[in-house]
Structure formats: C-alpha cells, structure tokens
C-alpha cells in the first residue's frame, strides 16, 4: 500500500466514523445544566492547577478502586469493553447534523412534504424483541447500530447484533422495507411511505412524492435520502435531506421509461454522492446515475442481455453487475454472469459466470470481493468470490426463496435477510469477516 492509498483509506475511515456521531438535539440544554452545575469554569481549573500532584494521587487512588470492585468509577468516563445498550431516549436527531448538500444538485419540482395524516408514537420504553420475531428488512447505520423491520416490532441493536431491543412496530402501516440514514432518520416503505426522525420511536406517514404506485426503492447516503417513484409515465428519483420530509423530484431527462414486462422493479445503489438506479422489467430497461448529487441518464450494464440484472458498488468507481443473460431472448440461455466496471459504471467488462442459479442480489465490500445471493430450485444461497470472479465458493445457505438487503456496512461486516415471499419466515445473517462466513442472528 503506497502513501496515497493509505491516505485515501484513512480519509474514508475518518469520514465514515465521524458521520456516525450526531449531536443530541438537547445538547444546548445539557450544556446549560452542566455549566450551571459546575463551579465557575475558571475557578475549577485554577484550583486544580496548584494541587496537580494531589489530583494525580487522587486519580491513582480512584484507579486502585477500580481493581477492587471491577467497575471503574473514575469520573464515570471509563467505557466498558462491551458497549452497553444505549437508552432509547439518548438517540436523538439533529436536523443540522446532516448535510443537505447531496440533494442540492437536482433542480426539481418541490413535491413538498406531505407529512401527513397518520402518525404513530407509542411508548418509547425499551423492550425485548417479541418471540417469533421474523425479520423482513435490515439496515445498519454503523458497524454497531442497526435496525430490523419485522411484523411485530422494529428490532434495534447498538452492539453489532449481539443484543436487541424492540422499538414500536408500525401496526397499521403497509410497509415491507426499512432504511435508516443514521441513528435518527429512517424510512419504512413498500408500498406506503413512513418516516421517523427520532430513531424509530415515532413514525409519520408521507405522501409518495410525484407518485403513483408507491416507492420502488429507497436508499440514503451523504446526508440525503433518494427514492425511486413512478409518476405515471416514467420512473424518477425523489430526493430530500435526511432530516427533512421535503422531497424534490428529478425532472427532465433524469427518468427511466417503463419496460415491457408486468412487474417493474428498481434497484438503487449509493456510494456517498455517487449512485446508480437500474430498472428491470423482465429485462434491464434503463438506468440513472447520480453524479455529484445530481441524477442523470445512464446506460446500465446488461441492457442487451435479455434478462434481469442486479448491481452493487464498493466505491464511486468500482461497480459490479450480475446479469442473468438470455432469459427472455432467443436461445441459448447463457446464465448468470459477472460484469465489472472500474470507471463508475461507464463501461463494463465480463468477468465470468456466477454459479448457483439466478442472482437475487449482489454486494461488494471491496474491489475484487463480491457476494451474490443466488437461488435455483432449492433454498437461496450466498456465493462469494475473493478474486474478482476467477473462483467462487458457497459461503451460506438459508431457507427462503428471496434475499433482501444484502450489503456491507464496512469492508468486513455485512448482512442479508433471507425471507419467504409470504412473509411468514425469514432469517437475518451477518458476516464479520468480509463475507467468508455468515451466521444467523438471534433476536431473543
């Protein structure tokens, strides 16, 4: 690794870590209480200086006390090795915490928030996840904090899935997917659209901007939330700052026409202020690309492959596509193949077949490492390559015929939900070694 690569990785790590930290909305009030409770700042420090040696001695005495009872009481600042479950009330939103810049590039029709009628805000007290909890959709906002949508609750973890508490479910909402941009701002959708800005303790329904037919895809990154909607003639992207409900719909050429198939689906992939949207309706129909915060037309991979495709990106330049070629065209059906791009999706080159059946989803935590959720006749499985498609191995299987939300939070940690179409079954699996091994997550 040369210095430039090291610095690039360092910048990315620092930015990723920093964006996980948000100011609590009551920070000023806390400050006032703290300032009022403390002796005047000056006197506190002035007094401390002459008795530094005494202070040091006191620190040592306090530290010795730590060993005597196993729990540090030193100023209450010592952190436990195991992160304690954070009280729900400390998760807090800050509108200013998120950058709205990503949304600025789209000159669009302000389809204004329709924060609307129904709202739901039951008790915010932490509770155990109900027995039989069935995961439907998962979203992690940091290596440690994640949310899982189930029929009976939204499960919340702050220790990377080791323990879970239950947030209120959305009992009257018709939703099947969940995304959070950070610890506070989240959306549940499909077909309805609901939003929370207090970490899932209360939700309100939004009118889908621009739209007929609900939300087709939704992702958030770089302080902006993007959702694909259908305006009656074409698919467009509606964008808003994450702390806001004010969506603007992309206009002009930033639209994907409707395909010829009966069931259109759209996949959205974001990497910071870069992103890709690909519509599949039996075959790949069209795409959009987010460049520096603005959506513009994009020729997606596999457009002439006569089959569906799924995509993933590990950076703004490294994009992969799994294309099921020849499904709807003339024979022969050539099967699932991997395509890779090193220029942000401008050009793709073939990288060989993907084993295991049809690709349901694909994810790539780093260049050359690709995990594909595949399904043939039996249960779904995860196939992985760590050499850019030269060789593949099956790394996991699970009951269920659909794989949702396959993705990586870091280069090593990723998740996937295997679920049945009827919603009566589902399992969440997590990897902590870059996709080599996966294990099922228990919610009890």
């Amino acid at each position: 690794m040369n210095d430039d690569e090291l610095i690039d990785r360092l910048r990315r790590t620092l930015r990723d870590e920093a964006t996980q930290v948000h100011a609590p909305p009551d920070g000023w009030e806390r400050f006032q209480r703290r300032a009022a409770g403390a002796s005047p700042a000056r006197s506190r420090w002035v007094v401390a200086a002459p008795v530094a040696a005494l202070g040091l001695a006191a620190a040592i005495v306090a530290a010795v006390l730590v060993t005597s009872n196993g729990t540090s009481t030193t100023k209450g600042r010592t952190e436990l090795a195991t992160p304690a479950a954070r009280p729900a009330t400390t998760a807090a939103a800050s509108a200013s915490a998120t950058t709205a810049a990503a949304a600025a590039g789209n000159a669009g029709a302000a389809a204004a928030p329709a924060p609307t009628a129904p709202t739901f805000a039951p008790s915010a007290s932490a509770a155990n996840v109900p027995p039989g909890f069935t995961p439907r959709s998962v979203t992690f906002v940091s290596p440690t904090e994640g949310f899982v949508l189930g029929a009976s609750a939204v499960a919340h973890t702050v220790d990377a899935g080791r323990t879970w508490t239950a947030l209120p479910a959305l009992p009257h909402a018709k939703v099947s997917e969940l995304r959070f941009a950070n610890a506070h701002d989240g959306w549940a959708w499909g077909p309805e659209l609901w939003a929370t800005h207090d970490g899932g303790h209360s939700w309100h329904q939004l009118t889908v901007p621009g739209g007929e037919g609900g939300v087709y895809a939704l992702e958030a990154a770089a302080g902006a939330v993007h959702m694909v909607v259908f305006d009656g003639q074409a698919f467009r992207v509606a964008t808003a700052p994450v702390a806001s409900d004010a969506f603007s719909v992309s206009l002009g050429a930033a639209a994907i026409p409707v395909g010829a198939g009966p069931v259109p689906t759209v996949q959205l992939v974001l990497q910071g202020r870069t992103g890709w949207a690909i519509e599949v309706d039996r075959t790949v129909v069209g795409g959009l690309r987010l460049v520096d915060g603005a959506w513009q037309p994009w020729t997606p991979p596999c457009l002439t492959g006569n089959g569906p495709a799924v995509i993933a990106a590990s950076s703004a330049t490294e994009v992969v596509a799994a294309c099921d070629e020849g499904v709807w065209g003339p024979a022969p059906q050539t099967g699932e193949r991997l395509w890779v791009s090193h220029d942000g999706g401008a050009t793709f080159t073939g990288a060989g077949p993907i084993p295991g059946g049809h690709a349901l989803a694909v994810a790539s935590p780093s260049a050359g490492t690709i995990v594909a959720a595949v399904q043939a006749a039996g249960p779904a499985a995860l196939e992985a390559t760590f050499d850019a498609g030269a060789t593949w191995s099956q790394v996991s299987t699970a009951a269920g015929v659909d794989a949702a939300d396959l993705g990586f939070t870091t280069a090593t940690q990723g998740v996937v939900v295997f679920r049945t179409p009827a919603g009566d079954g589902g399992t969440l699996q997590i990897t902590r070694d870059g996709g080599r091994t996966w294990r099922e997550v228990a919610f009890s």
Partner: protein, 160 residues
Amino acid sequence: MMSAMGLAEPPPLAPPRFEDFYRAQYEPMLRLAYLLTGSRAAAEDLVQDAFIRVQPRYPALNSPAAYLRRTVTNACYSWHRRRQREEAYRPAPVEGAAPEHDDVWDALAKLAPRRRAALVLRYYLDLSEADIAAALGCRRGTVKSLTHRGLADLKDVLEP
C-alpha cells in the same frame, strides 16, 4: 453614520451569540473529539467541558472556533494521558465483545495520541500545517514530523 456617498454604512457585524456558536460548533467538535478518543461518551464529556471553558472568554476571542478546536484537542490529549495512567489498574477487557470497525480505525487507535491528532486534523479536517500547529500548540516542523511518523506507524500496524 453616513458615508461620503451619503449612504448609511452598515453596522459592524456582531459576533454570533454564544448559543449560536455552540449550536454551530457542537457537532463538528463532537466528531473531532470522537475521532481523537474513539469514545463517544468521552467525546461528549470533553466537548461539553471545552465549551464551559471557552464560554467566559468567548466575547474577547478573535477566532473562537480555532480556540475551541485547540481546547478540544488538548482535552482529548489529556484524556489519553489520564487513561494511560488508569490503564495499569484496569481489569482486562472482555474478549470478543468490542464493537467492530475497519482495520484503519483499529490501527489509528494504536497510534500515539499526538500523531493520531495530527492525522485527524490533517486528513479529516483538512487543516493547514499552520492551523494544526496552532491546535496542537507546536511548531509547523513538528506537525510535519507527527504527520509523517503517524502515517508510517499506521502502515506498520496495517502491514506488519
């Protein structure tokens, strides 16, 4: 007051109220402190304390943001020293229970605090050498050295 052109001169810009300053700087400082300590709880404590220290001086400060940044950086450095003293008496952490981060973040935690601070100020805040020197209270040459050695340490940890 009227200018030579007969137009009313705009009043001098008043500094923002301390509350506005706090609200604008709180989250950036929280993030900086987190990157310097690796602990959210400590970051919150240290930043609140830093604001308490800055508040009485605020009206007289020419560059309150730079002063606050230096205060926070120093507080984090002191936190590391205090922690090192306490470390000898702390029970061993529970294996396997630590939250997961990427390897660069883990490597950063192994760096000497001042080298870590130099890297954070340079590559997260994109500060100039002069500004980093002001924040760390050292010479610009020292900043060069801290940054260079910090990167070398980071590489050593990542590629032993």
